[in-house]
Assembly symmetry: C2
Homo-oligomer: 147 residues x 2
């Protein structure tokens, strides 16, 4: 059991990759073919009540400039809008447009479609155990690119 621990990284990373690739493919298949997986991580943060550039930068673990640049791209493509921040005239609140929300729903559908058969094969108990075990290893919340 000690030596075999080394196959776990491979299994985990393969599973993560399958997920990212599958969701990306599903999103593209639904017509949103001008986005990359990295954009999905931004959407996760924006999908609540929106976020400022700085908040998004922290979430993605990049500089404000990089985040600002990605937002500019998403604005151009029609997925998000910059609105004045209610409490701070310096800041700008970045929120999803209807198109942005549609894309988010598409990603959710793709993910569900991908995971449903898998979850069904596992069954509720193992699924619950898996959730607990994974949560013990990572620290959910900040979902962003790995390297």
């Amino acid at each position: 059991m000690e030596r075999d621990l080394l196959d776990l990284p491979v299994l985990l990373l393969s599973a993560a990759r399958a997920l990212v690739d599958g969701i990306d493919a599903g999103v593209r298949a639904r017509g949103f073919d001008d986005l990359r997986p990295a954009h999905g991580f931004a959407f996760v943060r924006l999908a609540g009540d929106g976020a400022t550039v700085g908040q998004l930068a922290e979430h993605l673990n990049v500089t404000k400039q990089a985040a600002s640049q990605m937002i500019e791209e998403l604005v151009t493509k029609g997925y998000v809008t910059r609105r004045p921040h209610p409490d701070d005239a310096r800041a700008r609140l970045v929120v999803l447009t209807p198109k942005g929300w549609a894309c988010t729903r598409a990603a959710d559908e793709a993910a569900t479609e991908l995971l449903r058969p898998w979850a069904a094969a596992l069954g509720p108990e193992r699924l619950a155990a898996l959730r607990a075990d994974l949560a013990r290893l990572g620290t959910p919340g900040r979902v962003r690119p790995i390297w």
Copy 2:
């Protein structure tokens, strides 16, 4: 159970990220501080009997030029060597140097150190179940960056 499927990507990616970051930190702590996680994925392929540039490129899902470039960097830093290929005078077999093997062992140690308490907390049965469940989702073998 249907709606909750959407937290699984977050859990999986968080766990994967924790692993990659942890191993990277462990490798650096052991003195190999001039490598990035991406290099680790190359090492995985080279650690067998070595590989050609083309094989590594396919493993990493990049062009031959990009793989060749990374190899050049690893050669300069002393982790790998280019040897003539036994069966094909065009090809060159890239293999790990003693330093490369030492780094590989360091990565294994870091991974084991990271996973041991986690595995102990889970216990053998849940660990086995986790392995099986993860293997069902991804397709192990080609471990490479996700996006």
